[in-house]
Amino acid sequence: MSKAKGRRQTHREDTRGLSRRKLLRLGLLSAAAAPLLLRARRVMAQTGGAQPAPSKASGELKNLAEFKAPKVKASGPTTISFWQYVGFHVDAQKFIAEEYKKRHDPNLSLEITAYPGLNEQRVGVKSALAAQSPTPDIIAVEPGAYAVDVSTSGSVLDFTKVFAEDPDYKRGFWPNALELLTINGTIVSVPAVTNTVIVYYNRGLFQQHGLEVPNTLDDLKKVGATLNAKGIMPIAYPAGQDRNFPIFPYYTYLGGIKADKLMREADLGLKPWTSPELVAGAEFVEMMAKSGLYARGPLGIKEPDAIQIFATGKSAMFWGGQWMRRSIRAALPPNFDLGIFPFPAVVAGGHKPVLSSVGITLTVNARSKYPDLAFEMIKALTGAWGKIEYTRNLGLSPNGPISAEAIAYQMQSLKDPLYPEFLKLQPTGTTRVIFTPAVEEAVTQGMQALITGQKTPKAVMESVEAASQKVGTRKFRAG
């Protein structure tokens, strides 16, 4: 275990960590954030949505959700292990585990190992599972290929029994989030949080140049042309970050024409990737790359670079994920007026596509010595009480709907007017997950080829289709 402990991270802002300077800025920002709350109503008006707004309760609010007692408790001092890959979640997880210990099971401790990133954790988990190790008891997995791998290899337990015993617990999740984690008809993992991909924008810069939030692609192009004419890059888009990022525009287009179900079927080898809708998605990626809307060389831009470009006013918009909200806030000067909007409708009369997905999800090692205790701990982390505490300081969306009172309680410490806006977007989002590893690889490479102008949209989709056919009949069903 000592080796694992050595890899453990201290609390971090995100996977990249925080410099002292950033921490200082964050502290200053927290102090400056209170007045921003006053502007929350104005921001909400732009995004719409179905989630309740925080109530205007005064005084010290509390988490009123029920923290259910477990059905099973440890018979003596027991430690269960949990391997995850997002350092900045550790404090939230630790807090809930300690409350669980205090309130319900004094014998049970949770040992969290936070790997520096998904790749490192996946390698560690793979080695442990291949060695039939009972450690870790709880495993964090990504939706998509990772969840498929651990479930189809019989390495993890599903939630059928847990949900049958506690239907309320299941009802606490967004159905579309659970759908992403349903492999071969069973739910193999549960989300700790959910998140969206949206466009952050510099409201001050927009106002200065008389620009409105774009509702359609044409609006966006006009905004881009105006900004370019003024020497401001329109969108900082960190397509060089990792394999998921170059696919954002593609997912966006398919979400915008409601073809994400078709993409899922193609992913599972049931439909061809060369259908007109999926090729149109590739054409959209190519069009965006050539439109002058992106900051130069998107494949050479990583998240911190894009944040810097946006924070220094060199670009007016930033296309990124909700998980970057705090990193962005930390980099912004105190007077920066930050707003968000969903990507504009990609076709005339279409809806605004919001890419949403589950973030870190939790499952139980099939060889765990304490599977029941592990499930109880997952229920504590992701259940009605836990989800409010978990997301309270992270600013990521919870794994299911929460009450207006709960949001007000969270806002006491969160103090970020954008948070409720993100909450409204989650249930409407389109998914951004590909389940077949070889297909995901082909799509990633294809999107890079489109952005660099090396291939035509049709050729890209043909190569994705070839990769899909090479995989053959899938050994799993998803959703």
Binding site: G297, G300, I309, Q454
Partner: protein
């Protein structure tokens, strides 16, 4: 019963075996066994999540690699990486060593400065250079624009044409100090009487360097080159952190391909086949190099 001679022989070697034993056990457990395991695994199909290997597939994984465009791209990139990096690293290292072997002002400071990148964390170096190469606010493009060469500003890591050269440049920057130190130590251990004799005979600095010092330095230059070649062939972290082999496989090398096959595509058998090819490549080059070195030594003696 052992004969007296055998017992004597055993007594004579026992201490040697006792000292070498633990090291041999460690070597066998952590080097030979994994290599053997990889070779065996390369003949199987395995997704890597269960202890049960898939079926024995013979040479199928090697056949699959032979028909895989990405494998050939990665092999070519690995070769380009080595062919470009090694002469730059060793050549620059030698030039700097020659320079720093002279009596210069701040010689010690310069030696330290050139060695600093070697001791810097690779992660730190790659993150710094990602920012240097960033297309919009990166140091390099900002500098080019500032000196009126804005037309040369480029998305260095985002363009398949320039991504590999950019990564090689970082590798050279990081490692040239290592070559420098080895070569400097070599220069300082050269027989001074030979150098002095050449000077007395009227050799100028150029002739001295080319005709006397360089031939004497040949074994050390060969060793430095060998280390650079092996380092270049197995490069992983630098590429993985900077570009993850992209864009469009333009910086994919054998080690990143191995990782991709093993941990992203779950083709452990194919990944093992890549590992076997990589080891074979490194061993062959090392063997050729030592052979050439031995030959040149023999030639020197003759």
């Amino acid at each position: 019963m052992l004969s007296i001679a055998a017992r004597r022989r055993w007594r004579r070697h026992a201490a040697g075996y006792a000292f070498a034993g633990p090291a041999l056990v460690i070597l066998a457990a952590f080097l030979l066994y994994p290599i053997g395991y990889s070779v065996w695994l390369s003949f199987h199909e395995w997704e890597g999540y269960t202890p049960r290997w898939g079926p024995f597939v013979g040479l199928e994984n090697y056949r699959a690699l032979a028909g895989d465009e990405v494998f050939w791209r990665a092999t070519l990139n690995s070769i380009v990486f080595v062919v470009v990096r090694t002469p730059l690293e060793v050549g620059l290292g030698f030039l700097l060593a020659l320079l720093l072997n002279r009596r210069l002002v701040a010689r010690s400071l310069l030696r330290t400065l050139f060695f600093v990148p070697v001791v810097m964390s690779l992660i730190v170096v790659t993150i710094i250079f990602q920012r240097v190469f960033e297309p919009n606010t990166g140091l390099l493009n900002t500098f080019l624009r500032a000196v009126g060469l804005g037309a040369w500003a480029h998305p260095w890591l985002g363009d398949p044409a320039t991504a590999l050269p950019a990564v090689i440049a970082v590798s050279v920057w990081k490692n040239v100090g290592f070559s420098l130190v080895i070569l400097l130590a070599g220069l300082q251990s050269l027989p001074q009487d030979v150098v002095e004799a050449a000077r007395v005979d009227g050799a100028n600095a150029w002739q001295l360097t080319l005709r006397v010092i360089t031939p004497l330095m040949r074994p050390i230059l060969a060793l430095t080159a060998l280390l650079s070649i092996i380092g270049g062939l197995k490069v992983f972290d630098l590429v993985f952190i900077m570009t993850r082999g992209g864009p469009t496989y333009s910086t994919e090398v054998l080690a990143t391909l191995l990782y991709r096959e093993a941990f992203e595509l779950n083709h452990m058998g194919i990944a093992s086949a890549v590992a076997v090819i990589l080891v074979a490549l490194v061993l062959s080059i090392a063997r050729i190099q030592t052979f050439v070195l031995d030959e040149s030594r023999e030639g020197g003696k003759a």
